[in-house]
């Protein structure tokens, strides 16, 4: 039979672990394929992960060493979460305005998996803190909650990653149409504007941004095909897509063009969506980009 201390430990740790998952759900809302059901699925899985983390310490203390092996099951379960997300996003590819691309999907799926570990680690830490403290129960709970919050903060910062806005400037681009060729700030983009309708549409409603890498070596990241596909995906999702979407890189100066005919013609929203596109984990990055500043303010 569980005593009141163990029960408090398990409940506090489970709640904190689940909260860790809920906080991270809110943080990266744009990576969600469907809101109500997506939320439910991931909160429930987060709750299970937190429960596993919460009971690990009491199980160990009751010399139930075999019970610890269920952590292995948890890892397997989280891998399944990654696979589930990957399959889900891949199956949506054909229905989106443009492809997310395999690199972006891989990154999103990894993020989903990692965030379940957040719940596990936070719950484990909270139960550990309650266990090692020898004080009044309420004080133990308060201290463990504070520790849990700090760990959530650190883990969130650690896994945050960078976005395009951190390594590049994004400015509006000037669209020019010469015959059937489309240029943005003098960069050739496409020549599929062969009909009068297409030219008229693009002239009247097309918008474009140009991405300027802040350092020359950031071109390694920005030139990556998967990264540009991800940028284009975020742009079309933010504004909708009436017709045509292109990205093009300028080999000379490393500029990247993103242009489309959107449903919502809002250049500032386009700039924001491009800036907020995450840098993909799978993209080869320079070390200066990879350095994660845990305490950097937003």
């Amino acid at each position: 039979m569980l005593n009141i201390n163990d029960l408090t430990m398990i409940i506090t740790a489970t709640i904190m672990g689940t909260l860790a998952r809920i906080f991270t759900l809110k943080e990266d809302i744009r990576q969600y394929p469907s809101y109500p059901n997506g939320y439910l699925i991931h909160i429930v899985i987060g709750f299970v992960a937190a429960g596993l983390g919460a009971v690990a310490i009491p199980a160990l203390l009751s010399k139930n060493y075999i019970a610890i092996t269920f952590l292995v099951l948890a890892v397997q379960q989280f891998r399944d979460v990654r696979k589930m997300e990957k399959d889900s996003l891949l199956s949506l590819e054909e229905t989106e305005y443009t492809y997310r691309g395999n690199a972006y999907i891989d990154g999103i799926a990894k993020t989903f998996e990692a965030r379940n570990y957040f719940a596990l680690i936070v719950a484990l830490s909270v139960s550990f803190v309650i266990q090692i403290l020898k004080s009044k129960l309420w004080l133990e709970v308060v201290i463990s909650i504070i520790v849990g919050i700090v760990i959530i903060f650190l883990l969130t910062r650690f896994s945050k990653g960078k976005s395009v806005g951190d390594i590049a400037d994004v400015k509006p681009g000037k669209i020019e149409i010469k015959d059937s060729e489309l240029y943005v700030d003098g960069i050739f983009v496409s020549n599929i504007l062969g009909s009068d309708n297409a030219r008229k549409l693009y002239k009247e409603e097309g918008i474009a941004v140009v991405i300027y890498p802040k350092e020359d070596h950031f071109r390694v990241t920005l030139d990556h095909y998967g990264q540009r596909q991800a940028i284009l995906f975020e742009a079309t999702r933010a504004l909708g897509l009436k017709r045509y979407h292109f990205t093009r890189k300028d080999y000379e100066k490393g500029r990247i063009v993103v242009t489309l005919v959107p449903i919502i013609s809002d250049i500032n929203r386009l700039i924001d969506s491009v800036k907020n596109t995450p840098l993909l984990e799978s993209v080869q990055k320079s070390h200066s980009v990879m350095k994660t500043n845990l305490l950097r303010s937003e």
């Binding site: 015959d179 059937s180 020549n191 599929i192 504007l193 062969g194 009909s195 309708n197 297409a198 030139d223 990556h224 095909y225």
Partner: protein, 68 residues
């Protein structure tokens, strides 16, 4: 060319419409010859609309209907 060079281009040529008989060749794509520029343009637009495709105007004055 980078990675893109290894990726199969995501487009196909559906039709080629020309006003020069010498450029009508056999192939997968529909190849059409017309007498006048007006008919050529009209044909191109109609085919592109029907196939929900895009139009490329070549510098030679020929049109290609492609699907991206």
């Amino acid at each position: 060319m980078g990675k893109e060079a290894n990726i199969k281009p995501p487009y196909e040529i559906l039709a080629f419409i020309t006003i020069n008989k010498d450029r009508v060749l056999a192939g997968n794509a529909l190849s059409l010859y017309t007498d006048t520029k007006e008919v050529q343009k009209m044909l191109t637009v109609d085919i592109a609309k029907a196939l929900k495709a895009d139009i490329v105007e070549l510098k030679t004055g020929d049109y290609m209907v492609i699907r991206v």
